[in-house]
Amino acid sequence: MAELNQKPLTDVQLKQRKLERKIEMRHHVTSFSLMIFLTFAAFAMVALELDPLIITAAVIVMALVQVILQFYYFMHMKDKGHGFIRLFMLVGMYFAIAFVLCYVLIVWIGLPIGSV
């Protein structure tokens, strides 16, 4: 909570800053349109009444891609200084997936592993 310590940017820095923002914006727009497209594709597949198995598999894959785009481009996980956040999220996700898999196998399906 120290006092503000701001120096005016030099022209070169300003130019650099603007360029970075431009690239950032391009990333945002690209990933946003990709996400829209993926959502559209998911709806389209359902509308075309493809084989439910294919739809389920494809939708799960596309959802995963969307999650990654969301985290990395919209929630800044790709940026510098987010190492710990990335580590925590990945480790947490690893555990969560392991737990869910375990629940599905030994609670929901209910057969002991190895007997199938």
Binding site: F88, F95, Y103, V107, P112, G114
Partner: protein
């Protein structure tokens, strides 16, 4: 400082503690709260041992015995061991990393008060129709069936307490990652800080499953849902998985800070650098990671199938490797050291064999075919008391002696401390060693009595005598604490004479802002380096200047009180309702329950609103005040 402190009225001191956001005072609050519950849990343990001392005893009824064992386990784990460790984390870690407070001081205070009200709520069950009686694991098939409100107290009390612990976990992760002094890289952090970091990470990942499990139980028992009600399509095994996904990391949350405290003690009193520092760090992180992969070893006999059991059994055994690394590193730290046999060091030395014995029985339990024999016998009771008492409780008692001067500016009496140690150590082994055999002879756990002529009589009597020795040791410790406070003999900086880490470089009493200037850290054992190279003076990393500190606040207390009130509303909500489970549907209807529930939530949310919308910008500690304090310290040193 001392003169002004004595002039303050009792009420102003109480008000100060009710509103404090200072990590050092919160540490004292945690120590008092945890200490109180530790005595309560110990009392319950004594009741258990009295009941089991002789066969066919009717000192406690069967129902009462179930309540006592449930509350003994729950109290000791959630309300005694964890808060006492958090007390030391609060007292030591910010000083050890060179911070002026934790990252979120308000959240720290809130965490304490939420824990405290949750613990009080849980224990009020004794006076309000009976305590929970489904075991500390509260398996859903028992918990749903348990008549009366006992299990409701468990579910709500732990939910409230757990929220407090979760806040503390988040707080310490943030503090340690973001607030280390300049020069303190991760690989220069003392082991106490490392183990606190890993334990805090475990809290962050392990408590949400418990929160979910408790919510499911709360919904089933109080709001008419069917998660665990088998006849309505529920599944009680889900509770077991949830509970142990939380419960196994939980035991590492208990043991890792204990490892940290012992690592500090070994290197201070062997007067050597910790052997194998980087492998210690590696082992700590690895234990934390493995902790999430082994929960089903608590459920081998549930019927997961041979493959699942084998996977979890092998994963469990793998944890012995990092733990073994630690044990050898500690031994090699002592090896060739110039050892001082102080009370903390005695606990630390006793910890190595005691904890290793618990570890070895852990490997035995991880062997699936053998576990079918050990399951639900006293062998399991002996195992987990060896690791929790031989590890965590020893660490708490050792830490109490070690960090007492840092927290209270006086020293606990060493002679009484050694009496406590020897009595406690003897009593502990007397109580629990024999229980291994009791288990192998077939005595089941959680059963309120046994018949004469089964060969259990002598062993149970030995066990009870051991428990009495531990009780005597605790009383001596209490006497020691009272006498130390009464005598009030102040000690100065670095009271043990061999402090190696940053916290010992501070003047005692530690100023409320901790560091007038944040020091520069030049390596592991920062203070020891300056003792060798700079006459024990820390090099400042910043000029003497104003800095910012947070204001005290009464809001955490009010916010937690709101949750406490909410708990009662939720608890009595289902009483006598026809949609409720059988356990509570024939109880008297309480029409006020809903209003109490709403009122409690209103208190909490309004205080959250006040906190959010009313700006509290804190204050600045002025340079002039710091200069005055430093001059006073200089003068004091001159006088000596």
């Amino acid at each position: 400082m001392a003169a002004t402190a004595q002039k303050r009225s009792a009420w102003s001191v109480i008000w100060d503690y009710l509103t404090t956001v200072d990590h050092k005072k919160i540490a004292i609050l945690y120590l008092m709260g945890g200490g109180f519950f530790f005595l309560l849990g110990g009392l319950e343990a004594m009741l258990i041992r009295i009941q089991l001392a002789v066969p066919n005893n009717d000192f406690l009824s069967a129902g009462m015995f179930n309540q006592v064992i449930t509350m003994h386990g729950t109290t000791m784990i959630f309300l005694a061991a964890m808060p006492l460790l958090i007390a030391f984390m609060n007292a030591v870690v910010p000083l050890q990393i060179g911070a002026r407070d934790v990252a979120f001081p308000f959240l720290n205070a809130l965490g304490f008060w939420v824990f405290f009200f949750g613990g009080v709520f849980l224990n009020l069950s004794w006076f309000l129709g009976g305590a929970p009686d489904a075991g500390w694991t509260s398996y859903a098939s028992l918990a749903i069936d348990s008549p009366g409100h006992g299990v409701d107290f468990y579910a709500l009390g732990l939910q409230i307490t757990g929220a407090g612990t979760l806040m503390t976990g988040i707080n310490f992760v943030t503090t340690i990652i973001t607030m280390r002094a300049p020069g303190m890289t991760f690989m220069r952090m003392p082991l106490m800080t490392w183990t606190t970091l890993v334990a805090a990470v475990l809290i962050v990942f392990a408590f949400p499953p418990l929160t979910i499990a408790l919510f499911l139980l709360i919904f089933d028992r109080m709001f008419g849902s069917n998660f665990f009600i088998v006849e309505a399509g529920g599944n009680t095994i889900i509770w077991e998985h949830f509970f142990w996904i939380f419960g196994h990391p939980e035991v590492y949350i208990l043991i890792l800070p204990a490892f940290g405290i012992f690592s500090e003690i070994f290197s201070i009193f062997a007067r050597k650098r910790l052997f194998g520092y980087s492998s210690m760090v590696f082992a700590t992180v690895l234990i934390g990671f493995f902790g999430f992969m082994v929960w089903a070893h608590h459920m081998f006999t549930t019927g997961l199938g041979a493959t699942a059991n084998a996977i979890f059994g092998v994963a469990t055994m793998a944890i012995a490797i990092p733990t073994g690394i630690k044990i050898f590193n500690w031994i090699l730290t002592i090896w060739g050291g110039s050892i001082k046999f102080t009370t903390p060091m005695l606990y630390a030395l006793a910890f190595i064999p005691s904890f290793t014995m618990g570890g070895v029985t852990g490997i035995m339990l991880a062997t699936v075919p053998a576990d079918y024999q050990f399951h639900d016998t006293y062998f399991v009771v002996a195992h987990f008391h060896y690791v929790i008492v031989g590890g965590t409780v020893f660490a708490i008692l050792a830490g109490l002696h070690l960090y007492w001067p840092l927290m209270f500016n006086t020293m606990l009496n060493e002679r009484l401390g050694k009496w406590t140690f020897w009595l406690f150590f003897t009593g502990f082994h007397l109580t629990f060693l024999i229980q291994h055999w009791l288990g192998l002879w077939g005595m089941p756990r959680r059963v309120f009595t046994y018949l004469d002529g089964q060969g259990y009589n002598l062993a149970n009597m030995v066990s009870t005598i051991g428990a009495v020795l531990m009780a005597v040791a605790t009383l001596i410790l209490a006497y020691n604490i009272v006498m130390t406070i009464v005598r009030n003999e102040r000690v100065g900086k670095d009271p043990w004479g061999d402090g190696r880490t940053l916290e010992w470089s501070l003047p005692l009493p530690v100023p409320y802002y901790n560091f007038a200037q944040i020091p520069l850290i030049r390596g592991l054992d920062a203070y020891q380096i300056e003792k060798e190279e700079n006459n024990g003076e820390m090099i400042p990393s910043e000029p003497l200047d104003d800095f910012h500190m947070p204001n005290n606040s009464f809001i955490p207390f009010v916010m937690s009180f709101g949750l406490f009130v909410t708990g009662f509303g939720a608890l009595y909500f289902a009483s006598g309702k026809d949609w409720a489970i059988n356990a509570v549907s024939n109880m008297p209807v309480h029409d006020w329950a809903l209003y109490v529930l709403i009122a409690g939530l209103a208190i909490t949310f309004i205080s959250m609103g006040v906190r959010s919308w009313k700006d509290d910008l804190g204050y600045y500690v002025k340079k002039e005040e710091l200069e005055r304090d430093l001059a006073a310290l200089e003068e004091e040193r001159g006088a000596n």
